[in-house]
């Protein structure tokens, strides 16, 4: 038995919300992806297997539709809507990510479905939320990252702010939506009543500012972007450092918590003959305050940074990682996707999941379970479905349509 195996999810999301249904499926729910006839628009998003643009070859689709079954249904036609309402009768969750108001305009809004099934948890994922002055704004990943705060903090200071090259905004929103859905579900088990869950990606991505979105309301200085680091006040703080064969992330900071790590690192650097004892023995706990008060000049910070840089530059990423393991330094290598996939750590934990794609006669390696559960481990029960793969199984086997009725709907292009 899986954790959420008694529950059914209708997943009507566009590319904005696919992760939400997938994680509920990973946790064991029966997730039915409801796609328009011909396949969901997200199937047209690349990259594609062997760069072959085909609705059953989209790697984007595969990434976020595991552990779902697929049915096709035209919810823009009355017969399609009627069938969706019938499915919603027995659904515990419905997830959608259309523009605000589009489901209600079809007669499939929360109130419409709650009238049929008061226990349903109805989850809406959107860019800016279901209402408000900018709710109808046109959106995209880059737009949301700009609106929510993380974009301004990312990138080189002599160029425009920059996003992560793999779109992130709706993943943050979809993950928040899954948590909200499960909280609402927890309550509906007790009360017998569902509710609407409304998630705005703009708010979700503010999480990626590490609470710096609060700077102005708190009365704090703002933090500013810098190539491979950040600027706080006069300090240029590097966070990306050179190695002999690439780059590493290293936290070189001060204060009661982080200064301890810096002290350890400086002792090691001194042992290696790269700095004098006076430099080693600086008060690394107080150093940040001393820089702020002017007791230590910024040039002294910059001098020390150069010493650390000469240390990191003289070693490979692998050597630096070994030092981090042995000595507890706060550093890890910056890796490519290839290095991630070949990671001995992930290998030793059995992370990667080989998923059979019988329709292709091959298997593909997928990122593994997002957590390891001792009693109810996440299983990859279904590879991402092909378009309408489960029409017969769901419509005839579970909803009780006859073969003739299904054929009739197919003829009319409803399924």
């Amino acid at each position: 038995m899986q954790m959420l195996s008694p529950y059914r999810v209708l997943d009507l999301t566009t590319e904005r919300g696919l992760l939400c249904g997938q994680v509920l499926g990973d946790l064991g729910a029966d997730v039915i992806k409801v796609e328009p006839p011909g396949g969901a628009p997200a199937r047209r998003l690349g990259p594609f297997l062997n760069d072959e643009a085909h609705p059953d070859r989209s790697l984007y689709w595969w990434a976020y539709n595991r552990n779902k079954r697929s049915v096709t249904l035209d919810i823009d036609r009355p017969e399609g809507r009627a069938l969706l309402r019938r499915m919603a009768n027995s659904a515990d969750f419905l997830i959608e990510s259309f523009n605000p108001g589009e489901m209600a305009a079809r007669g499939l809004g929360y109130e419409d479905l709650a009238a049929l099934n008061p226990a349903v948890v109805y989850v809406s994922i959107s860019a800016f939320g279901q209402d408000g002055p900018k709710a109808t704004y046109a959106d995209a990943d880059l737009i949301i990252m700009a609106a929510g705060g993380p974009l301004m903090l990312t990138g080189d200071d002599d160029r425009p702010p920059v996003r992560l090259s793999v779109p992130q905004a709706y993943l943050h929103a979809s993950a928040d939506a899954a948590v909200g859905a499960l909280a609402a579900h927890h309550e509906s088990v007790r009360s017998g009543r569902g509710q609407r869950v409304d998630v705005a990606a703009q708010e979700s991505v503010a999480m990626a500012t590490q609470s710096w979105v609060l700077a102005a309301p708190l009365g704090s200085v703002e933090i500013r972007r810098m190539s491979g680091g950040v600027k706080i006040g006069e300090l240029n703080i590097p966070l990306v450092w050179p190695a002999r064969d690439g780059y590493i992330a290293l936290t070189f900071l001060f204060g009661t918590a982080l200064g301890v790590f810096t002290r350890k690192l400086m002792h090691y650097i001194c042992e290696r003959g790269l700095c004098d004892q006076a430099t080693r023995d600086k008060d690394w706990i107080a150093f940040g305050d001393q820089l702020a008060s002017g007791a230590e000049p910024i040039s002294e910070f910059e001098r020390v940074v150069e010493i650390v840089r000469s240390f990191t530059r003289s070693h490979t990423k692998a050597e630096l990682l070994q030092f981090a393991l042995e000595r507890g330094f706060l550093m890890t290598p910056i890796t490519t996707i290839e290095e991630v996939v070949k990671s001995p750590q992930l290998e030793s934990r059995g992370y990667w999941q080989s998923v059979e794609h019988p329709e292709l006669g091959r298997s593909i390696r997928y990122p593994g379970p997002f957590a390891k559960f001792s009693a109810t481990p996440i299983a990859y029960r279904h590879r991402p479905p092909t378009v309408g793969e489960h029409n017969r199984e769901v419509y005839c086997g579970e909803l009780g349509l006859s073969a003739a009725e299904l054929a009739g709907l197919a003829e009319k292009g409803i399924v």
Binding site: A135, I143, S165, H186, E187, T332, P344, R349
Partner: protein
């Protein structure tokens, strides 16, 4: 009367610290879970030392990050190295349904609070451990922060300009991603427990959870052998797709056109109808091939405009656009205000301070902040007396033994 919060019956004993862990239990506290957070009186929570600071002033309670990650929890100070703290932990364990911790592996075992030990005391306990790389494996000993897990998981290499070293995402990126997975794991395990009476142990690697945010790029490698790199702000299919300079120092506007209609709207707004009629630019492919020319045309318009005004003009024509917001701008954003994103809470030493609001807005039983982040040991008395039912003499004795620091 306010409606009962959705997780009002959930009780969590929380050993987590810094960011990734506490951010997860903060979500659950928003929805009504009672979270008792144990904090060391001797080893300061790193989050308490990190900016931004309330009133721009360092202090034990002034970290906005700490406040944001811990709002609404009960905080007790407990020296876990003190043998007499055990009786308190054991009583809290009997009270709790869920135990959470985010130390590096082995710390809980050293105290005798690993899952095998706890389940002997409470067989149906749900315990979740979250750490950078997971509880086992050659790198499980790596201690540190989410920027390190992000770097070793590919996020840094995929952020920045192709002709420059990696910029890396801002801050401790996996600390933003993994808390949602932590929270949903707990909620799913609670549902299973309610139906079956079975507890369990959950081992979460923050790196492994976060890799789901790179899944398309991972599949591009595992299925196609292609190693994706950083591409600045460009998109694989659409142009224009970028961040353009607006009037003022370090002011920017993000603009994207994914459809032909958006493209025509853009050309109208920037007074370049000639571009709208240019057959080379009629398709997404054509616009991508001529992105530099388009970017120059857009920039020459945006540099004359305030970022907010440019956003309004473009959005009025249905063009995806937004000023690139820092905190001050986000705090004035009417949409963020409409969502009540910035929430005032009363702090025991700071007075009124601000945290971020809950992300998922529930219509019937909305989340409600239970308070600010606790000061160290703020709720010792409340937890011991009201929740555990200790008498005054016992509390005084524990305090005299140095249990609370």
């Amino acid at each position: 009367m306010a409606p009962t919060l959705p997780l009002a019956d959930v009780q969590i004993l929380d050993f987590m610290w810094v960011m990734a862990g506490p951010a997860a239990t903060r979500i659950l506290a928003d929805y009504g879970a009672t979270v008792i957070r144990i904090e060391s009186p001797t080893r300061v929570d790193t989050a308490r030392t990190l900016q931004p600071f309330h009133d721009n002033t360092a202090g034990p309670d002034s970290s906005g990050l700490f406040g944001n990650c811990n709002a609404g929890k009960f905080g007790i100070s407990l020296d876990l190295g003190n043998p007499r703290s055990r009786e308190v932990v054991h009583d809290l364990l009997q009270w709790a349904e869920v135990v959470t911790e985010s130390f590096s592996p082995k710390a809980m075992r050293a105290w005798g609070y690993d899952y095998e030990s706890l389940r002997k005391l409470k067989p149906d306990i749900i315990m979740l451990s979250t750490c950078l790389m997971g509880q086992n494996g050659p790198l499980s000993r790596i201690a540190g922060f989410g920027n390190m897990a992000a770097a070793i998981s590919g996020f840094h290499n995929l952020t920045g300009w192709p002709d420059r070293p990696p910029a890396g995402p801002f801050g401790a990126y996996t600390d933003y991603v993994s808390p949602r997975f932590t929270a949903m794991a707990i909620l799913a395990a609670l549902d299973h427990h309610r139906r079956t009476g079975q507890g369990q142990y959950i081992d979460q690697s923050q790196a492994e959870a976060s890799l789901h945010f790179l899944a398309p790029a991972i599949l591009d490698y595992t299925a196609n052998g292609r190693i994706q790199g950083r591409v600045g702000n460009s998109d694989r299919e659409y142009a224009p797709h970028g961040v353009y300079p607006a009037a003022g120092e370090d002011r920017w506007i993000a603009i994207v056109c994914e459809t032909d209609a958006q493209w025509r709207g853009l050309c109208t707004v920037i007074n370049r109808r000639d571009l709208a009629g240019d057959p080379r630019l009629a398709t997404a492919r054509g616009r991508r091939d001529n992105a530099a020319e388009i970017d120059a045309a857009i920039s020459s318009w945006t540099t004359t405009m305030g970022a907010g005004a440019a956003e309004a003009h473009l959005q009025s024509r249905g063009v995806p656009a937004y000023q690139v917001q820092n905190s001050a701008q986000a705090a004035r954003d009417p949409q963020m205000a409409h969502r009540a994103h910035f929430v005032e809470v009363n702090h025991s030493t700071l007075g009124k301070t601000i945290v971020e609001g809950p992300r998922a807005h529930l219509s019937r039983t909305p989340a409600r902040l239970q308070g600010a982040g606790p000061s160290l040991g703020e709720h010792n008395q409340y937890v011991l007396e009201k929740i555990l039912g200790y008498g005054e003499e016992r509390i005084t004795g524990l305090a005299a033994a140095g249990v609370f620091g």
